[in-house]
């Protein structure tokens, strides 16, 4: 910004006065103009994001009819309910398993795409990113139909291998497997694209040097690729962890939390309790449990941003 302030001095005196005047007014009003330009953003974020976030803290302390203050009553009630602990457990299993597999599959697929000649990469990348492009609500319907109890196309195919009909969404463990599978299917392409972009930025000389030193493919991945990609892996995993933790669409459409609440995660259970059950404060208390993971992620991301700021 100092650049701008210094610039007028270098402008020759012979310049038209009008131009200098407009420059001066522009500079004088710069911070006002900047504030006005960011005002819609500030308003949007404070009214529609920050206020509701705090409002939900307030809501969580009210009773069901939202007329009486109950303090931590809702939380005490939740802690005593078995379903709540089931939801906590399932959310963690769901998020961690899905993210680990998404990251692994994304990493592997990115390597394969990176391996083949550049000419064909575009085509493969295009095909592999399709799951990410289709709205999850739409694609989950296709999965629901693939998992259908009586007409499942998967079971039809598996029956040729002598594998009995699998209750994809009917049995608790299979239902958990199914929601995680759909989530992996939807999210892995995102990792693939991110890793592919970062793989391309690893200098070729590093691999050549490693090859000269006699490193095998595993050592090349461990000592060259992974350290170079560490940042992008961390940030992508963090991102995905948040999104997966807060997932709603897939579980809601595939199982709506069933059988017997065995696939509910925070978001779907909050919806069940808050909207369908009409107990908004209790629902708000449930969704507030997504906050710790957010806070942890925020700390890491802030650290990352500051670090990059210092490097620049």
């Amino acid at each position: 910004m100092v650049d701008f302030a210094l610039q007028p001095n270098s402008v020759p005196e012979t310049r038209a006065k009008r131009k200098r005047a407009s420059l001066r007014t522009a500079l004088k009003r710069k911070s006002t103009a900047a504030f006005l330009m960011t005002l819609p953003l500030i308003l949007l974020i404070s009214i529609m994001v920050i206020y509701p976030a705090f409002y939900s803290l307030h809501l969580a302390t009210l009773n069901k009819s939202m007329q009486r203050f109950v303090g931590f009553g809702n939380f005490e009630f939740l802690f005593k309910r078995e379903t709540f602990w089931l939801v906590v457990k399932q959310s963690c299993i769901f998020a961690i398993t899905a993210v680990v597999f998404k990251a692994l599959i994304g990493f592997i697929v990115a390597h394969f795409v990176h391996n083949i000649p550049v000419k064909g990469q575009r085509k493969w990348r295009g095909m592999l990113l399709v799951p990410w492009v289709i709205p999850p609500a739409m694609s989950t319907l296709a999965w629901l139909w693939l998992f259908d109890p009586s007409y499942s196309a998967f079971n039809y195919t598996l029956s040729f291998f002598g594998i009995g009909p699998i209750p994809w969404t009917g049995d608790a463990s299979w239902a958990r497997f199914s929601v995680i599978l759909v989530n992996i299917w939807y999210g892995a392409p995102f990792f693939m694209i991110m890793y592919l972009a970062s793989l391309k930025s690893v200098p070729e000389q590093l691999y050549e040097a490693a090859a000269i030193d006699g490193a095998n493919w595993w050592q090349r991945i461990w000592y060259v690729t992974l350290p170079m990609m560490r940042n992008i892996i961390a940030i992508t995993t963090l991102f995905s962890l948040i999104v997966t933790f807060a997932n709603f669409d897939i579980v809601r459409i595939l199982t709506s939390g069933g059988p017997l609440d065995h696939t509910h995660i925070f978001a779907t259970w909050a919806f069940r309790v808050g909207i369908e059950g009409g107990d908004i404060p209790l629902g708000a208390s449930v969704s507030l449990f997504m906050f710790p993971i957010l806070a942890i992620a925020a700390v890491f991301i802030l650290r990352d941003i500051n670090k990059r700021g210092n490097e620049a």
Binding site: K19, L23, M138, W145, A284, L294
Partner: protein, 304 residues
């Protein structure tokens, strides 16, 4: 010393090594193609199965013949859906919401990104970071307080927002604006300072600098942000599910799920047709603007 060098450069060893490396490379390539095919099949099975089912009549679906093949292809599902007023209403609502949201998003995030990337003012750095952090707050954390807020707002002012499609115009920007602002900041920051300094010296106002220089130069970023905003608002499922209920106010994803699934009767041919038609706009955009789409996707993490 010299002897070792001579041994190292021995011609036969070198030739053999070279040959084996290229053979390794061929095999690595074959394995890569094999696994890529496997993953591509995994990725494409659901959309292809949507297409297969959408071409079947309900009679053929309930006959439980080979689900992977269409024996009597018919377009009746498409004809039926595209001539149903209800489905067209969903489609229209979705299109309206998405187009308005994209416009609102651009109107908010372009000036904000310009101000945050070029005109440093008190708190601008904090605000830029804050914008990124808001992007991380998920919809499933905010839907209950927002629902209550709109209800209270309706009680106070008599303006009923719940169960109107335009309530989504207030809510969706919270999902699109932070990310779009963030990637626009990245694109704007990459424009050389000399360009806008030259414009200012020539007497351009801040507004002119933005419209004549920044927007044209950062056009790829703008397109990427537009695509992002469109796909997010087209695909959003939780907010419309919570805020709208009557059939004439629903958007496509919620409409298909609540109206085509009647009780326990699943008309799968129509559901798959609807899902495919609902997935079509993002897919078409993706097919034509894949590079912008990917640029937008990767910009968020690599530019910050």
């Amino acid at each position: 010393m010299t002897s070792t060098i001579v041994i190292d450069k021995a011609a036969p060893t070198r030739a053999v090594k070279y040959g084996s490396m290229s053979r390794d490379r061929t095999w690595a390539l074959r394995w890569s193609y094999f696994f890529l095919t496997l993953f591509a099949v995994f990725s494409l099975v659901p959309p292809i199965y949507m297409l297969i089912t959408s071409l079947k009549s309900s009679a053929e679906i309930s006959a439980a013949t080979n689900p992977w093949w269409v024996f009597h292809p018919t377009l009746s599902n498409y004809v039926e859906l595209l001539s149903s007023n209800q489905f067209l209403t969903f489609f229209r609502n979705s299109a309206f919401v998405s187009i308005f949201v994209v416009t609102i998003t651009m109107l908010i995030s372009i000036p904000a990104a310009f101000a945050l990337s070029r005109m440093r003012f008190w708190g601008s750095a904090t605000l830029a970071t804050g914008v990124f952090l808001t992007y991380l707050i998920p919809d499933s954390l905010l839907f209950l307080p927002l629902f209550k807020m709109f209800a209270v707002f309706g009680d106070w002012t008599g303006i009923q927002l719940i169960n109107r499609w335009y309530v989504l115009l207030f809510v969706y920007p919270t999902l699109t604006v932070p990310f779009c602002t963030w990637i626009m900041i990245g694109y704007f920051a990459s424009i050389p300072k000399e360009l806008d300094e030259a414009a200012i010296i020539d007497g351009a106002s801040w507004f002119q600098t933005l419209t004549r220089i920044f927007i044209p130069v950062a056009m790829p970023g703008l397109i990427a942000a537009t695509i992002f905003a469109f796909t997010v608002s087209w695909a959003q499922f939780l907010y419309p599910l919570v805020f709208t209920t009557s059939t004439d106010q629903l958007v496509l994803p919620v409409g298909i799920i609540t109206s085509l699934i009647k009780g326990d009767v699943f008309n799968w041919g129509q559901i798959m047709t609807g899902a495919l038609l609902g997935a079509a706009p993002p897919l078409i955009i993706y097919a034509f603007l894949m590079d912008y789409y990917i640029a937008g996707l990767t910009a968020g993490a690599t530019k910050g």
